[in-house]
Amino acid sequence: MTVAIWVDISFWVFAVAAILTGWRVFETDSMVRASFLLLLSFLNVGAILLLLTAEYLGFALLFMMAVEMVAMALFMVMFMMNPAGLNPMEMVHQKPAAMIAGVLTFTGVSVVAVFGEFPNRPVRAGGGSTRELGLELLGDSMMVFESAGVALLATMIGAIVLALRTGRFGAADEDSVPPPIRPEDSHDDA
């Protein structure tokens, strides 16, 4: 009995925290703060997944979101010409369209949550849910999925190497210059 009550209390605490921090994402005035508030929201969702004993999913959510939010904050700052995200700026735009999309999404998700039928298949006692989850998600396509993963990673690294200043034009710390856009242009007269 006591455990169930604590699970219920924790659920509501995490749920309220997830919604509050999610709301703050749109109210704050900095992209970096917005990213980390969104991360806080996700951390609370991860905790709820743990309460559902979806251990792997909960931990994976923490892991993925922490890395992604740092990357997101960094790239947004790099692309937005806002010095390090320190200048205040509004986090919302295209409000009417966003409101319509928000209401539609919320209604859709709520309808599924309230009226959807969820399977009732308890995890077998003793063993955890990770193995079942893996088989359920990937099944026979495990090998294909893994190969695609490795290929994607190799592609990513290849793209980075090509995009690097060090990739084709020498080492970054050796005063390297990219080749001219037109062959007849030369750097010598620059």
Binding site: V32, Y56, F63, V67, A71, A73, L164
Partner: protein
């Protein structure tokens, strides 16, 4: 033993690992630095961390102009709980793990990822240039070693056929992973030095940035940060001991003692490596991580996989 008593004992073990371990690591680090410089490490070193802590505690805490106060506080105070969470995942005997999860190494990965958040936030929050550069540097440094660290952890999980850290220890009963996966420990040393940003990988708080993310930090703020950073070194060494040296496995002595001894060995290795190498430039470390270490990680993963095949 009652549940409360065993829980109290587990908490005590984590506190011991963080407190005593981190203190010992700090003393060892300066001792190795002195030996490296040809100076004999005198007994004054034993009290040096305490003296520095007392000095920091008395010092005024300086604030910058328009910092993100909440972010700054969360970041500074965040490192120690993360180290504690990681410490609670280390198995100390066949029955003694504070947090025994079936996907323990995924949580370990989450801790590594949250460390990136904390260090970046600490660099960003004070609204200060050098500090911000330090934060940015740590992100690129961490992104460069995190993938490698995942490879090493996955490789160690392969023979166990499980994501549970305890299971990874148990399957080293015959032969430790150090022998089965010889590339693992050297790669993990890079990760220990990188996560705790020391020596060659002290890019975020380096002297070339006048202290980096700590440039605006003084007093209690600085003390809390260093108190979170030193345990990272110990906890990640303990993980290295667990996944490569068989953790608590060993004859005669009880499990926790074996964990302590093996952790000390890995810690010393990491400290000597950190002492021997000069600080990398950010570009050269990133280049090395993606073009040399990551391919080595691939080879390691492949070799570990082939070895683990029945």
């Amino acid at each position: 033993m009652s549940a409360v008593a065993s829980w109290a004992l587990e908490v005590a073990a984590v506190v011991l690992m963080l407190g005593v371990g981190a203190y010992a690591a700090t003393v060892l680090e300066s001792a190795i630095a002195r030996i490296g410089a040809g100076v004999s490490p005198g007994p004054t070193l034993l009290l040096a961390p305490l003296r520095k802590a007392a000095w920091l505690a008395k010092q005024q805490t300086v604030r910058t102009e328009r910092p993100d106060v909440i972010g700054w506080m969360v970041a500074t105070a965040g490192l120690l709980p993360l180290a504690a969470l990681a410490a609670s995942l280390i198995p100390l005997s066949s029955t003694w793990v504070m947090a025994d999860f079936e996907s323990g190494i995924v949580l370990w990965g989450a801790v590594e990822a949250l460390i990136i958040v904390v260090v970046f936030l600490r660099g960003w929050s004070p609204n200060s240039t050098f500090s911000l550069i330090g934060g940015y540097r740590f992100v690129i440094q961490a992104f460069s070693y995190t993938l490698l660290s995942m490879f090493v952890l996955i490789a160690a999980a392969l023979p166990a056929q499980s994501l549970s850290i305890q299971q990874m220890v148990v399957t080293q009963q015959g032969l430790p992973n150090l022998v089965k996966q010889p590339l693992g420990l050297p790669l993990w040393i890079v990760i220990i030095v990188g996560v705790s940003f020391r020596g060659p990988l002290n890019l975020p708080d380096g002297r070339d940035l006048a202290g980096g993310t700590s440039v605006e930090s003084s007093g209690w703020d600085r003390l809390l940060w260093e108190a979170g950073r030193a345990p990272l070194l110990v906890v990640f060494s303990a993980m290295g001991a667990t996944i490569f040296l068989g953790g608590w496995l060993g004859p005669w002595l009880p499990g926790p003692v074996w964990v302590a001894v093996k952790t000390l060995v890995v810690l010393l290795l990491a400290l000597v490596v950190a002492q021997a190498l000069g600080r990398f430039r950010p570009e050269s470390f990133v280049e090395m991580a993606w073009t040399v270490l990551l391919p080595v990680g691939f080879i390691h993963l492949f070799q570990a996989g082939v070895t683990a095949l029945p």
